[in-house]
Symmetry: C2
């Protein structure tokens, strides 16, 4: 096959699109692969569609190799199944909702767990039908608050989503592993480095969850990893609690006046000034900061919770969201404080179900949670629940107690990995895929049961496995480019080879025509820049921008029997005899 | 390739789905090809998706052969371009509209003329870039009032839509012809008989428009055709006006009392009773019926129009819709009559800008249109615009005049074809595709101009070409079936051959395993019914329901070296030696 550039529906742009924030977006638009239609919504030109289809083909191939069967669901779905599982509400503003002419609520599906579950319920009823893994490659919709970064975060995007169905936990483990293995093969074939990180599984009710992240500074996700092999996204990281400290010999707490201590730093300075301790000065890490959070529950109710954590750490709101899901979390407002006069702003201290340690009785109905680092026997400088008063030497487990743990403090480089594999470092990554043991949540909600070996009805256990196809294509473009344009790996390049007729000379066109035909005969898909009135400089610039990995330049040397083979990645141009070109090309691929 | 039926995600049903009105819907659900998700919205099981992809492949292949380039547009689009062309309103309730989180109006595209036009405007600026034809195979959305008939009329459906861009009318003709030729090849390859009928082009502003209809009694469209080769849908049919009649010797009109003549029949009876004419009795065809229609214009205004047509014909509201588009048409209401006291219900007669012939002056501002058959010199029995009074011998062009023609009467078998090719017959058809010269309407509205040979900006002229991919698949299923199930043509069958291991015997399975491997080695895609605990009867029933055209039965004869080759279409089973099976299969395909 060959395509003449003079006929191809494309236009390359000299300038970057004004709305492009990342390299892949900038280059895919400039090279004529995609065009914006609305925020986060793109049209695909022939070059872009070819690459997209090749990425899909790799994904499909490995899905089939893993025994998954392809189906296809509509994007437009009725509200009811999503209502049953609670996701109609949970998705909030991210869900595109609409009504049909009869007023029935519908949605553009952001993911399809519900309807896959119902389809299997419709078709299957026995353990003998399982295990089953089915998948689709389909356009999904999410009404992102800030659609940006081109294909990396669109509102309409192509996704491969697979779902596994088993009647035993061991079966789910095997189905999960098969998908996980397929993902490793897919990203390897696509030339994308990846890290498999532990992800939080809590809110979805499942038991095992991992993300495939491509490590890159432009990634939207932060993850942590240790030299010893631990990797997790920050939401899934768990802080390690130090050993408890014996109470023996710990001094009694001392309440002190602390006006004008609006920050941890001023509090620490005051403590060191008035109540210096012998062994070492007070530090921010010795203070116990009590943060008031408001939880908005799905049923519309709102309550507040106080979390105590070391004063040198901030709350990580993403970790808090996971910890309190499905409730939404936000900092408490003035109205929240007004309703809870026991919370003395700037002087909040701990209390617990055991009764107030200090301060107002009225606040004891508020749930009080502690960071895992606040172990029994640890001693703190903290608020005394009274205006302009703090307390010093307040001992956890002796002087105050908690209603539970809240592991929502920021993760920092150097924090110990929970598996004992050493200190972690923080890195940025781009999410390429996600494998997830859903467990029985959806099957339970939607009544998917099968008869087991003993004729007993058992609830099916499920997995969910997603790859963002268009995002993966953008990730490949993010990785493969230089200042001159895109550089595709051969596995997904829009063409195998790009032949440039570099001058208007008749001999050049005759040789180029012949080489294109010769290359085609090897099965290569050839892009042929046959444009007569375009200068060599513009042709070379377009070739670099479009990014086919192998370029053949037919120029003045053609008269002497020589052309150049140009490696787009290295930039190296090698003279090759015309008669040896096909062999040289074959040797490369 | 081969697929084991024991592993395939499918379940066949004994009973017809309760909501299935047509054969293809019934069988595609029963055989496990599709499942309903919402009215007019379907999920595709592996069998259905395979057939759909094969139909798409034929369409794509012929599009590329015709020089069209594939692109892909989003389904979710912003309101603005559709607002500019007026279609945001025109589509009425058929358009799925929604708002994003920021309150921006968006739609699920029912067709993509606007955004294709804008994309070409974005990329191209010179006549040298043209001609261009680009296409996509993409899911479209229409909120049908009565989604039914399964895939024949869905609310989410797959369509191939192509658009051509030329800077001259001759160029458009050539692009149109290339698509038209491709359509002929596509439907021929898919084994679908088709009739190309003239369609109305008026409302869209174009000049040439043809539909590819598959003639079938279950078709939703009525079309007319003559033995001489004329074919048109009823909306595009034009009535032939007889020659005018000289006024000389025509008697003067006579007004007569006509109480209690609520119908044409009672009026004709009265005329024959009181005013019999010498040569032949009065008939319904001698009466002039004046029908009052209300037009609802896009700007929200409403007016009425009176149309005179022979009393033996009814108004065809579909033809009226086309004639008065873009206004909507409906019968006048009591309120319309109340506002126009000159319209004496039951006794309305003709008038014209020349002034009232009879009756009230007040009605003369109403537009009066005539059927083409009401030629000058024709003489009519009609209302006298006065209560309980009719008139007889009222001559068109002498006694009354019109403001124009309205060719909106029903078409009847025997009516002359407008091209003189003889009388037409009426038939039912299913629309498979539509080719359409849009002309400059969209390019004008959206400002798509290019520089021509003389450096002058000219507006581009466009064509639009659609094939309903999922509908075509349903049409193939409508055509290929019998009381036992589906019968696919080889070009789109989900598998090339279906091997049934008919008994539990070990020899049978050994032979079947070997034959499946042998068939695979020929490149065939094989479905293998390897189910151990299923009776031969159920296996044969499923094979007939699923409809793979060639079935191999491995049964008791296997022990003696014989299997059966079963032609699904004819039902003929031919014994074949096991060793000769692959050759016999090859001979068939």
């Amino acid at each position: 096959m060959s395509t003449r550039l003079s006929q191809l529906f494309v236009r390359t742009l000299r300038d970057d699109p004004s709305d492009a924030e990342v390299t892949s977006h900038r280059l895919l638009v400039r090279a004529g692969y995609i065009r914006r239609q609305a925020p986060g919504v793109f049209a695909w030109l022939p070059l872009g569609l070819k690459v997209r289809r090749r990425v899909e083909a790799v994904v499909r191939d490995e899905m089939e190799r893993a025994g998954a069967q392809e189906v296809l669901f509509p994007a437009l779905l009725p509200r009811e199944p999503y209502e049953t599982t609670g996701r109609w509400e949970e998705y909030g503003d991210n869900l595109f909702r609409l009504q049909d002419r009869k007023g029935s609520d519908m949605l553009l599906a952001p993911t399809h767990e519900e309807v896959f579950t119902l389809l299997v319920k419709d078709l299957y009823s026995s353990y003998k039908d399982l295990p089953l893994t089915i998948f689709q490659i389909q356009d999904k919709y999410r009404d992102e608050a800030r659609p940006r970064a081109g294909l990396l975060r669109g509102r309409e995007f192509s996704m491969k989503d697979a779902y596994s169905f088993d009647h035993t936990d061991a079966g789910l483990d095997a189905s999960y592993q098969a998908q996980r293995d397929a993902y490793e093969r897919i990203f390897t074939r696509l030339g994308l480095e990846y890290v498999i990180v532990k992800a939080d599984a809590g809110a979805m009710g499942g038991s095992r969850s991992e993300e495939f992240l491509h490590p890159t500074p432009v990634g939207e996700d932060t993850f942590v990893r240790s030299a010893g092999g631990y990797a997790a996204n920050v939401e899934a990281f768990t802080a390690t609690a130090p050993d408890a400290i014996p109470f023996d010999g710990l001094p009694e707490p001392v309440v002190f006046d602390s006006p004008e201590t609006p920050t941890i730093d001023t509090l620490v300075a005051l403590a060191n000034d008035r109540h210096a301790r012998a062994d070492r000065p007070w530090a921010a890490a010795d203070t116990l900061k009590n943060v008031v959070l408001a939880l908005k529950h799905l049923d519309g109710t709102r309550d507040i919770v106080v979390v105590g954590l070391p004063g040198d750490r901030e709350v990580d709101m993403k970790r808090a969201e996971v910890a309190f899901a499905p409730a939404e979390v936000e900092p408490a407002t003035d109205a929240d404080f007004a309703k809870n006069p026991g919370l003395v702003k700037g002087y909040i201290g701990p209390w617990s179900a055991q009764g107030p340690v200090l301060g107002e009785e009225s606040a004891t109905s508020i749930r009080y949670l502690l960071d895992p680092r606040v172990v029994d026997g640890s001693s703190w400088v903290t608020g005394a629940n009274a205006d302009e008063k703090h307390v010093l030497g307040l001992v956890a487990g002796r002087d105050f107690f908690s209603d539970g743990t809240a592991d929502i403090a920021e993760v920092r480089a150097g924090d110990p990995a929970p598996d004992g594999s050493g200190p972690v470092e923080l890195a940025r990554g781009m999410e390429l895929g996600h494998v997830f043991q859903l467990g029985r949540k959806y099957a339970e909600a939607l009544g998917l049961k099968v008869l087991d070996e003993n004729g007993k009805l058992v609830t099916v256990t499920m997995g969910s496995y997603g790859i963002g196809v268009t995002r993966v294509m953008a990730a490949i473009a993010e990785l493969g480019n230089d200042e001159r344009g895109l550089i595709w790996p051969r596995s997904v390049a829009p063409f195998d080879v790009h032949v440039v007729a570099a001058t208007k000379d008749e001999t050049v066109y005759a040789v180029a025509d012949r080489l294109v035909a010769d290359l085609e005969s090897t099965g290569a898909d050839v892009l042929y820049d046959d444009r007569l009135k375009v200068s060599p400089g513009v042709k070379f610039g377009d070739a670099e921008l479009i990014g086919v990995p192998i370029i053949v330049i037919v120029g003045k040397g053609a008269a002497d029997g020589t052309v150049e083979l140009w490696d787009r990645r290295t930039g190296v141009k090698t003279p090759v005899a015309i008669d040896g070109l096909v062999d040289a090309y074959r040797a490369l691929v």
